[in-house]
Each structure stands twice: as structure tokens, then as C-alpha cells.
């Protein structure tokens, strides 16, 4: 079982290398980064926490779902936990496939499912020193 979670900075070239194959003509990458601005304050960083055992299991299920829909897609992903500063990468998803349509579809599917299913939470750390839990879907 792959470890999808990490407390380390993400290594995008390493993820690309994981999926590279001579029969893959298209690779799609999604990179999520911590934004500076919220509607009501400047964000210094986000503290990511999770139900780690279930998050790993849910990522297993999401990747399995993606592979069942797009069997020729090669997939790599990592999600950071812990404190991630503004501008830093918090999540990276890479999907390679013989053709670009599959790569795009698989990559999009995984990030959308991640946002709906994986038990990870975000606490915004504002420049003022205040902290607040992020409500999903733009909260």
C-alpha cells in the first residue's frame, strides 16, 4: 500500500517519475497551493490534520475507483499534513495515460473525490495570529 500522506514538502518531479512510461503520451498534473487571501483576512498558512489511517484507506479507494474507470491511467499523488505556508504545495496529483483525455479525466476525478471523501481538515492560520477551521466548499 502506498503512503499517500506526508509531513514533508512535496516533490513534483518525483511524482512525475512515478507515472512516467513509454506508452504514456499525456500527463496531467493538479497542484493545490495555500492561497494568501481569504475574504476576511490574510492567511499565513494552513495547518492540515487528518484521520490518517482512514485518509490513507480512502485514497486507496479513490485511486482504485479511478483505475476501474480508466484502467490505462498511471496515478501518483501526495497530500501534505502539518503546517503548510502560503504559496507552498499542499496536494499534488499526477495522472499519465496513452492519451490526454484519460489523463485529464483521471486527474480531475481524483481531486474532486479527495475534496468530498478524504478525512482531512484545514485550520487557517491568519497573519493576525487568529486561527479558524475551514468550512468546505469555499468556507
Amino acid at each position: 500500500m502506498c503512503a499517500w500522506l506526508t509531513y514533508d514538502s512535496l516533490d513534483i518531479p518525483s511524482l512525475l517519475a512515478e507515472v512516467a512510461a513509454e506508452d504514456c503520451g499525456g500527463t496531467a498534473i493538479f497542484v493545490g497551493t495555500v492561497r494568501r487571501s481569504a475574504e476576511d483576512g490574510e492567511i499565513a498558512g494552513i495547518d492540515y490534520s487528518g484521520y490518517e489511517a482512514m485518509a490513507e484507506a480512502e485514497f486507496d479507494r479513490i485511486v482504485a475507483d479511478a483505475r476501474s474507470q480508466w484502467p490505462d491511467a498511471r496515478i501518483a499523488l501526495r497530500h501534505r499534513l502539518g503546517y503548510v505556508r502560503t504559496g507552498e504545495v499542499s496536494v499534488a496529483i499526477v495522472a499519465a495515460a496513452p492519451h490526454r483525455a484519460t489523463a485529464f479525466h483521471a486527474c480531475r476525478f481524483i481531486i474532486e473525490e479527495t475534496k468530498e471523501r478524504v478525512p482531512i481538515w484545514k485550520k487557517e492560520c491568519l497573519a493576525t495570529g487568529d486561527e479558524r477551521w475551514v468550512k468546505p466548499h469555499g468556507g
Binding site: S49, Y51, A57, K115, I120, W121, G139
Partner: protein
């Protein structure tokens, strides 16, 4: 039967703890477990949170067994 209940994020903050040990009657369901947590929490846990049993999302009517790990899942915000 004994079950372990995990709470996370804003729920853990509200409760002031991240884990509870419950002893439930035989045949208790996820819903029964949640009701007991809410009783002990004095209203600081929402009435219908997402719940997982042994790291899989579960419905309220799912029966529990000895040693189950029940988790109350606040609205997720990963990705």
C-alpha cells in the same frame, strides 16, 4: 460491548478531547453510539455528522461489534 470513539478537528475542540471509550448494549448501532456521544457532549456535537466505522463511512443503522473504532467526521476539507 466496548467501542472506541474518535473525534477530530472542530469536534475535538468542542469536546476538549479526541477519544472516548464507550460501553454499549449488544446490538447497538452507529446511531445509538452517536446518541450516547451527544448525550455525554451536552450538545457540542451536531445531530447528524458523518461517521466511519473501522475507517469506512457508515450509516446510522449499521450495527456495531465489540472493539469497533467509530469516528465522528467533521465536514472534510482536504485537497
Amino acid at each position: 460491548m466496548n467501542v472506541k470513539v474518535l473525534v477530530f478537528a472542530s469536534y475535538a475542540d468542542a469536546l476538549g478531547k479526541s477519544e472516548l471509550a464507550l460501553n454499549l448494549p449488544p446490538g447497538a448501532t452507529v446511531g445509538d453510539c452517536l446518541a450516547e456521544v451527544r448525550r455525554q457532549a451536552g450538545g457540542r456535537v451536531p445531530p447528524a455528522p458523518l461517521v466511519a466505522v473501522n475507517q469506512v463511512y457508515a450509516r446510522p443503522e449499521q450495527p456495531l461489534t465489540e472493539g469497533d473504532e467509530v469516528a465522528l467526521i467533521p465536514p472534510v476539507a482536504g485537497g
